[in-house]
Amino acid sequence: MSLGTWTLKRPAPPEVLRVPVYGDAPFYQEVKVLPGQAVSFGMKLAEPRGAMGVPVYCPANGTVNGIIKTRTVSGENVFAVEIQVDRKNAGAFLASGESSDWADISAERLRAQIKEKGVLLCGRQLRPLAGYLEKGTFHAKTLIINACESEPYVTAGEVLLLAHPLEIIKGVEILRRAAGLEKALIAVGANAEQAVEVLKSKIYFLKWNHIEVRAFPARYPQDDPAVLLPLVDPFFSDIEPRVLHDWPLPDIATVYAAYEAIVFGKPFFERAVTITGECVVQPQNVWLPFGIGTMDALKACKGVLREPGRMLAGGPMRGIAIQNMEQPVSAMTDALIALPKEWTAESAEADCIRCGECAEVCPVDLSPALIAAASKRQDWAGARELNAQQCLGCGNCAYVCPSHLPLVDLIQKGF
């Protein structure tokens, strides 16, 4: 699979955008626009309420159709502002010259600006980046950046790294300062050798020795903090996998968004997304505005060659099957994948043959076969006894199971 070019394109403006208002509106955000109101590019659609809120910005000129309740492709139930886009004059962000005075700004002001621009900590759960930088848990005064690619097929982070290494390093430095930490560590998958080399050379050039780049074994799910953090520091080995699993770590999309917010004052309204899969005509990484539907996003890659067997948001191991092509892309979406039918898992379930393969591939040493059996018997106490609650949901067990048992489903029922 190609990484596409390092210059990320943007799709043509879609007819309609359904911009998610994150969190559980109206508790965290207050929508500020009304149906029928004309909105312009970069305008605030919603204002934050309390520490958990961030402003939401408009990605295009147009008119508000209404406030709807929807589900994003990545599975979040949100309110969204539906905008009829003025396709002839959709607007675009024009970065004026780079401002370098961030080096003199205090940590509080950096965080305030990051919050003002609506930057979210992208990952498993979205949360305001500024809040994380202020109150996050940091070990050994080090900011850890998770630059490991999340899944097979997904290359958005790596391509962003290769296309903008200097910007990423500066973004890391901005986050480090905003969090008031001494050091930063960029954890990269060992398979991204080129990215590691480029980052190291840029750090050498900038003489920022407090930023370290380290390559970690590229073995799925390397991006999961429960797998990554114990490799970063043995301190984490004694913490339960499930706790580490939800440990917030900024990824490359977050770092780049923070860089743009501080240096160019750019609001957070788009992110780099991998659009790929054997059915896509031109697989590549593109910038997608939040709220764009899958069908419109696919047009950036010239559509599909043939009907996919499954259309996914996220990677093939943990991604979510998209139910409807109008569901909006969110800040959580790192990939849209059109898998052909012949590569799609079918549920032709057989009996467990005790091969032990599932236990062998489990990154947290569970016995998936036993937990699944307990779950089938509805023996929830038994499943908990077997530590079902530590499951990371990585899907390794179900992927290797020769009997095609829906192990992840069964295990997750068990806790």
Binding site: R310, W343, A345, A373, A374, K376
Partner: protein
């Protein structure tokens, strides 16, 4: 073209795996056939009789497991055939049918009760024995030349490579160490270090040289180990050691499984 997406259902993982139930079973049965032919070739009808004993005791073990409520599988299924294949791995040296029945029963019990994970512990033991069998027909004598020093170096290397990884690895390491001590007590000095040497070599080979290979290559490797086992059966001269080792490892494997292999146990000893 734009997709119509009238299709989209299904839980993660979405990617089809290449291992099928039938192919897995066929590969294992193929391996079993080699073993069966080897015993027939060496033992004639007695070899086949022993195989029948294995089969019957496997069923008996299964029935008792179900009776005690330990069996994870709610109905009779192909798992049993598969399990028999795996048990064939542990058929000790061809001595008396009574001993085989006893050991097979023990294996059935522990292996089934441990949800497959017992094999993970047994694997280095089987590997060690297979290596010993290749290195010399009778391990205790042929390995005289292997003194403590290379054994100690290799074992230390293995320990250094593996010990910190997880609690599971640590316990497995201890399990092999206990076996080595017991083997030394039973069979004299060269046996323990030789066992450690072989276990370390097998482990290093499996984890560091073969692990990155495709599943087919790894399966090929397992078949190779089975062939070694068949050769070992042909030698049939370290019976007690093999039987004892198999039983102890099965027991320790099941015990570890029950105690700790259900996920890393954090903060609870």
């Amino acid at each position: 073209m734009q997709p119509t997406i009238a299709f989209n259902q299904g839980a993660a993982p979405h990617l089809k795996n290449e291992i099928s139930f039938v192919s897995m079973l066929a590969r294992q049965l193929g391996a079993l056939l080699i073993l069966l032919l080897a015993s027939f070739w060496m033992q004639g009808l007695a070899g086949l009789l022993l195989f029948a004993v294995v089969l019957v005791t496997a069923f008996a073990g299964e029935i008792i497991l179900r009776f005690l409520g330990f069996s994870a599988v709610p109905k009779w299924d192909l798992a049993l055939i598969h399990q028999t294949v795996l048990l064939a791995l542990f058929v000790p040296a061809l001595t008396s049918p009574a001993l085989i029945a006893a050991s097979t029963f023990a294996m059935t019990f522990f292996y089934r009760a441990s949800g497959g994970r017992g094999a993970y512990v047994l694997q280095p033991v089987c590997l060690a024995l297979a290596f010993l069998s290749v290195l010399g027909v009778t391990p205790a004598y042929a390995l005289q030349g292997m003194t403590m020093i290379p054994s100690a170096i290799l074992f230390a290397l293995w320990a250094a490579l593996r010990f910190p990884r997880t609690r599971v690895e640590a316990e497995r390491f201890i399990c092999v160490l206990i076996l080595a001590v017991l083997l030394t007590l039973l069979h004299g000095m060269p046996m323990g270090p030789a066992f450690l040497w072989a276990a370390a070599a097998g482990e290093i080979l499996f984890d560091y040289a073969l692990a990155p290979l495709s599943s087919a290559a790894r399966m090929g490797y397992r078949v190779f180990v089975l062939i070694l086992f068949a050769l070992f059966l042909a030698a049939a001269r370290a019976e007690e050691a093999l039987l004892f080792t198999g039983l102890t490892a099965g027991f320790i494997g099941a015990w570890i499984e029950k105690r700790n292999l259900n996920g890393r146990v954090y903060g609870k000893a």
